[in-house]
């Protein structure tokens, strides 16, 4: 009966698919390709109502095979992609995008640009939400490529400008690239998302043409709009922009303060700390101590010699001046039950000493002040340092011994 026929056909289709899957997962591209030629038949009698139909499967599998198959060429790949585009209306834009991505990764920028322009002009009935998103991405990538062309022209122009020779045609071309890029890039970065590349390019364009207000607005929007994800890069870009603009310390600090609040372990925290330490205001210096302590809480910073030297410097300053010991005490309070095991174990003392002497020096200084001269880490490192007859380790020992009462005040 026809029902049975359908059922059997479905079964053999599924079996075929599982063979293909098996071959793909074992990197047997040839075998997968052979099975795929059989699977193409499933397009003829496509009764399935699953959300991934056979045409999408063929597109995905075929693409994967052509990526890896030893005898495939770019020409064949393009040909296959063109066929796939006509296979399903709903997926047209998606396939276009993927095709463009592949061309871009293979350095065929011009072909990619052509494909993007073609896709942009494609219209078919009413667009779904997903298609709308895909269309926006296509436009954005075209904008990105326009930006790269613009930047190329700009470089030519700048080089020529050095020679005191300007080319009007090139300049006009450059401006037209700017317009095309700006329009498309501006569109996508309004929509919530992660658009690091697009934002960077757009801001670069704006800055070149001196539209700093617009650039600032874009960056502020990207960093502070609550509909966007809490992307640390958005704050970094803003900070870098402000720095380029020569903004006041205050606005730089406030930008970094927000970054500190969302990502205390960001690598810019060292800059932030240095900036704060130099400040004359007590509150800022206090914040600096907080920032560096918080950064060193993270496992990724454990062996960051720069950060330890920042902390060591500030702690040393406070100890020598004997002012604001309570800052250290407060920071230390929430950490004294786990920092010793996390940072100052004997095992780490040994390893740090072997791997990075200056790191162990900075850490030993901090350990000696926070945990006293009997702390394992300090004892081991200072002992080794004195044994190796290193002058600064002897100084370190003296310093810690002299300031040992500080430890009692901090821990008390």
């Amino acid at each position: 009966s026809s029902h049975e026929h359908k059922l059997n056909f479905r079964k053999s289709k599924e079996a075929c698919l599982s063979y293909i899957q098996d071959a793909l997962l074992q990197k047997q591209w040839k075998r997968a390709a052979e099975f795929l030629t059989c699977y193409v038949e499933s397009l003829e009698k496509d009764y399935s109502r699953e959300h991934v139909g056979p045409s999408e499967m063929i597109w995905r599998i075929g693409t994967e095979i052509l990526w890896h198959h030893s005898q495939s060429s770019m020409k064949e790949f393009n040909c296959f992609m063109e066929q796939m585009k006509t296979l399903g209306v709903k997926r047209y834009l998606k396939v276009c995008l993927e095709h463009v991505f592949h061309l871009l990764c293979n350095g065929q920028i011009d072909e990619a640009y052509q494909n993007l322009s073609l896709a942009e002009s494609w219209r078919f009935g009413e667009q779904t939400a997903i298609q709308d998103k895909e269309m926006k991405l296509i436009e954005a990538y075209r904008g990105l490529l326009d930006y790269y062309s613009w930047s190329k022209q700009k470089n030519i122009l700048l080089e020529n400008g050095e020679d005191g020779f300007s080319d009007l045609a090139v300049e006009q071309e450059m401006h037209s690239y700017f317009r095309k890029a700006a329009v498309n890039l501006k569109e996508i970065i309004k929509i919530p998302g992660v658009w690091d590349v697009f934002v960077k390019c757009y801001v670069d364009l704006l800055e070149f043409y001196g539209d700093h207000n617009e650039a600032r607005q874009v960056l502020n929007e990207y960093a502070y709009n609550s509909k966007f994800p809490a992307n640390p890069n958005a704050h970094v870009y803003l900070y870098q922009f402000l720095k380029r603009q020569g903004e006041s310390k205050k606005s730089l600090i406030s930008a970094l303060k927000i970054l500190h609040d969302i990502v205390p372990s960001h690598e810019l925290m060292i800059d932030f700390n240095t900036m704060l330490q130099k400040s004359k205001k007590r509150k800022k210096r206090r914040l600096g101590l907080e920032v560096i302590f918080a950064a060193l809480d993270y496992a990724g910073w454990k062996e960051n010699a720069k950060a330890w030297s920042c902390l060591a410097r500030q702690v040393k300053q406070i100890v020598i001046s004997e002012k604001h010991l309570d800052w250290i005490k407060q920071e230390w309070n929430s950490r004294k039950d786990w920092w010793p095991a996390f940072h100052f174990s004997r095992y780490l003392a040994k390893r740090n000493w072997q791997e990075n002497k200056s790191l162990s020096y900075e850490k030993a200084l901090v350990a000696g002040i926070l945990l006293g001269k009997d702390c394992k880490y300090f004892k081991y490192v200072s002992h080794q340092g004195c044994k190796a007859q290193l002058k600064r380790f002897r100084m370190l020992k003296k310093f810690v011994n002299r300031h040992n009462p500080v430890y009692l005040r901090i821990s008390g």
């Binding site: 990197k27 040839k30 991505f101 592949h102 998103k133 998302g193 590349v197 697009f198």
Partner: protein
């Protein structure tokens, strides 16, 4: 670690997932996802782009055609967990129904029937005893006697039931009126446990078993851990895995990494009080900390860094609700996190104990029924992630109520599909301090806690079962990291590679965004070796197949670098306790691929494993040898028949040694004495009044089970009813006080004994003397217990029924073998007809009773002939044991 200077573009939405989904078989192929400008050559004229997925990765190739056993199978038999056919209703009609939309039908009636048959005491205990006289089980018609009015013939009912059973599934079946009548009459009072309650409990249990069969999340995380050797040390690592029949033994096995890993020395072994569900390990300050989770207990062990050092147990905690997660901190020694199914998350540090971080029976982002919870550590040692099926949150242990943020949400934020649920979160700290892996049944996500909610990587893994196990092998800086995903039921293993690395100092040293590298690769599963095994006898083949196809229970792996050669060893644990291993060798990067590389991997069906081709005969040879040894050990373990066909039996040779049966060549002094007395009596024509020679005194009666302090009458009555002595309790209450009664009983016993002693003497004159004396002692025990008319004193002393709460026998004792008790075999041993029944009774009493107190009264001699082999015979955890036959 620096944050990538630019991330791959992506949309960000909020709210529930919009994409309709379902398992898509090929969703992970053929997509680059996004591209980003980057990579080397930034300064060139043209920008270079890198894809999110599809970059070239490292090439790993399997060294052998199949996974190879690492350890020999343990001696005990493995008890397979229930299969769908055990609890599903099977009939033509139901198959049709199932093909529709009604789903699976659980065979509730059959299970309830099993319960009634297996535990009649618990099901009908007291009323069964009360009604004993009123049920007639014979085939003949009831005679018209006095009992006619109060006795019913059950045979007809049984026939009706059988008929009903035969017509099962028939749509036109009607209940026989007699059955309906009977069930209507007695449904309310016949059952010891109210039927509705019992049915509820059973149904709940069945649903539980069925959902476990569909997806068992208690195994999440896996019960296998590899403790790698210390850097630069000898290549001896330690494999931590559970074993034993109930998987309740924990082994620390030293393993030497050679061509094929080899066990060294016998493992350190710990017996635990529950099935090991998860083994988690982390190395802190050169020491390994191993956390072990069973349902109600979690324990932590410390393994010192140097090889060969013994593991020391540090602490154990007990939970009221089953624990669902145990992870070990990679930051601080002796710190773990524990989650229970009640929604509680604890930070457990060995020094200071448990700190509750959160208690919330509800799920976090939307409502989901699963009580599964998970927790892991993050880049900050005081911040823990906690997860349920709907997402992940991070909590600061110092202020868990105030400081938290959402790390992952099943929703539009991560581009999830409808119905997607978190299966396993894992901290990827060893590769990147702020990255996290989250697997769902459809996809894997890599998250960066500095950019919460937006996955930095997403890929549809296309596995048939949800990945319950994951293992990370961090690559060197600049290389890709390897992640293994493993599923339980299907034993799937998939190798992924991802990169979160520097492009190098030349391009400014900025870090690139996370990328999936290479194509995913399927590794050998344990069951995959079946096709390579030599053909065996069908039943043995079936056993091997059943064993090898057991669901996977854990996953571990290690990278091994031996000069230029790099290889990966992947261990897989099965629920049967087998550990299999496969080696993958690293091939140098191959941008232009050799044209014929397809042929390098063996096609299924070929079996190079046992053919030992010329290419590398040595390796394949050892693999084949491993298999041979494993198969041999398995069949040896199997020779002792599997538990379900294993009828408890007594060795006759040990019950009566040949010497016992032959009779001693030189009679003992006791025998001589007895003979003398016999001679004497015969000569005198008198009789022997007391058979005992001298020192045989009636032993004191053991204490009756009576709680001290005289409980109220209701509880004594309930206790008695529970123990099955309800009738006796009533009699006691109506007649004498307990003390009086005991005295009277003692007196009566003595009389009985004397009377029977005489009888037995006259009846058993033919056989040997020693033997007689033994049996005459034995004969006291049986009838007094078993005839319901008499006060069952012995049932108090020796053998309360198995269901009694007051007695916890360590292991159920099996019934004596029927063959032993067949009258033929007893006759062969010269046991007279009258005694056979007594002996049978005695043995069944012994089989039923707890080991303490072991002997019935006056059994000096019985110790001689009954071997004290309780422990030998007890088979632990027999789920469906047969009731001992009570001698009738």
């Amino acid at each position: 670690m620096e944050f990538p200077a630019a991330l791959f573009p992506s949309y960000f939405g909020a709210g529930p997932p919009r994409e309709e989904g379902g398992p898509a078989p090929v969703a992970g192929w053929g997509e680059h996802g996004q591209v980003l400008e980057g990579g080397p050559g930034r300064r060139q004229a043209q920008p270079a782009f890198v894809p999110r997925r599809g970059a070239t990765g490292e090439r790993w190739e399997a060294a052998d055609a199949a996974a190879v056993p690492v350890l020999l199978p343990s001696a005990g038999c493995w008890i397979p967990s229930p299969a769908p056919q055990d609890i599903l209703y099977r009939s033509g009609l139901c198959k049709k129904l199932r093909a529709g939309k009604s789903g699976a039908t659980l065979d509730f009636a059959r299970q309830l029937g099993h319960f009634f048959v297996d535990h009649p005491e618990d099901a009908f205990g007291s009323l069964g005893q009360l009604l004993h006289k009123n049920f007639y089980l014979g085939n003949s018609k009831l005679k018209v006697t006095v009992s006619r009015n109060s006795t019913i013939r059950m045979t007809a009912l049984v026939e009706d039931i059988d008929r009903l059973e035969a017509r099962r599934g028939c749509p036109r079946q009607h209940l026989a009126s007699r059955l309906r009548w009977f069930s209507h009459l007695c449904r309310d009072w016949l059952f010891e446990v109210p039927l509705g309650l019992l049915a509820d409990c059973l149904h709940e249990e069945l649903m539980q078993q069925w959902s476990n069969l569909l997806f068992d999340d208690s195994l999440t995380g896996g019960a296998l851990a590899w403790l790698p050797p210390e850097d630069g040390g000898t290549p001896v690592g330690c494999l931590v895995h559970p074993g034993g029949q109930a998987m309740n033994h924990l082994y620390f096995q030293d393993v030497v990494l050679e061509e094929l890993p080899r066990a060294r020395r016998s493992p350190a072994q710990f017996e635990l009080s529950g099935r090991v569900r998860q083994v988690a390990a982390a190395r802190v300050d050169g020491e390994d900390f191993v956390g072990v989770r069973s349902d109600y207990h979690c324990g932590v062990w410390r393994v010192p860094g140097r090889t060969g050092a013994a593991p020391t147990p540090l602490q154990v905690i007990r939970t009221d609700v089953p624990a669902s997660c145990l992870t070990v901190s990679p930051h601080l020694p002796g710190e773990l996190s524990v989650c229970t199914q009640s929604g509680t998350v604890y930070l457990w540090s060995v020094g200071t104990g448990l700190q509750q971080l959160r208690h919330d029976p509800q799920t976090m982002f939307f409502r989901d029924r699963s009580p599964w919870r998970w927790s892991d550590f993050t880049a900050h040692p005081r911040v823990l992630s906690c997860a349920d099926r709907t997402g992940l949150q991070c909590l600061d242990a110092r202020a868990p109520k105030k400081c938290h943020f959402d790390l992952f949400k099943v929703g539009e934020e991560a581009g999830c599909q409808q119905g997607e649920r978190v299966v396993l979160p894992m901290y990827l700290g060893r590769a990147h301090p702020s990255q996290y892996l989250v697997t769902t049944q459809f996809s894997v996500y890599v998250l960066d806690e500095r950019l919460p909610l937006v996955p930095v990587l997403k890929w549809a893994h296309m596995m048939k079962a949800p990945p319950l196990f994951a293992h990370l092998m961090p690559g060197n800086p600049g290389r890709s990291h390897q992640v293994l995903l493993g599923a339980s039921r299907t034993q799937e293993l998939v190798l992924l590679q991802y990169r979160a690395s520097f492009w190098g100092v030349s391009s400014g040293g900025s870090q690139s965004a996370c990328q999936l590298a290479g194509t995913p690769q399927k590794l050998h599963s344990i069951a995959g070796c079946l096709q390579h095994l030599p053909t065996q006898l069908p039943h043995r083949q079936h056993l091997v197949q059943q064993r090898l196809e057991a669901p996977a229970a854990g996953l571990a792996a290690t990278l091994q670098e031996d000069g230029p050669h790099k290889s990966m060893l992947v261990f897989q644990l099965s629920e049967a306790g087998d550990v299999f291993c496969q080696r993958l060798t690293h091939k140098a990067a191959q941008p232009p691929a050799p044209p014929l590389r397809d042929e390098a991997t063996p096609a299924p069906g070929s079996s190079p494993l046992f053919e030992a081709p010329a290419s590398s005969p040595q390796g394949l040879g050892t693999a084949a040898l491993r298999y041979r040894r494993w198969l041999r050990a398995l069949s040896r373990a199997r020779r002792e028949p599997p538990w379900h066909t294993w009828h408890p039996s007594l060795s006759q040779r040990r019950l009566f040694t040949r010497r016992d049966l032959q009779g001693p060549a030189v009679p003992s002094s006791l025998q001589r004495q007895m003979r003398q007395r016999l001679h004497q009596a015969m000569q005198q024509g008198g009789r022997i009044q007391r058979w005992e020679t001298s020192a045989v005194q009636p032993p004191p009666l053991p204490q009756t089970m009576e709680p001290a302090g005289g409980p109220d009458p209701l509880s004594t009555r309930l206790t008695a009813a529970w123990a099955g002595d309800w009738e006796q309790w009533w009699e006691e209450r109506t007649s004498f006080s307990v003390a009086q009664r005991q005295r009277a009983l003692r007196e009566r016993r003595r009389r009985q004994k004397r009377a029977r002693g005489r009888r037995s003497l006259s009846a058993s004159f033919t056989s040997s003397l020693t033997y007689q004396s033994e049996l005459s002692e034995l004969s006291d025990a049986g009838p007094s217990l078993l005839s319901p008319g008499r006060p069952p004193i012995l049932s108090q002393e020796g053998s309360p029924p198995a269901g009694s709460p007051a007695v916890h026998s360590p292991a159920p004792s099996p019934a004596p073998d029927e063959a032993l008790l067949s009258s033929q075999s007893l006759r062969c041993r010269g046991i007279p007809k009258e005694r056979r029944k007594t002996l049978r009774d005695y043995l069944s009493v012994w089989a039923e009773g707890p080991p303490e107190p072991p002997e019935p009264p006056g059994s000096q001699a019985s110790q001689l002939c009954i071997p004290s082999s309780q422990s030998q015979l007890s088979s632990a955890s027999q789920p469906r044991r047969k009731r001992p036959r009570m001698g009738f």
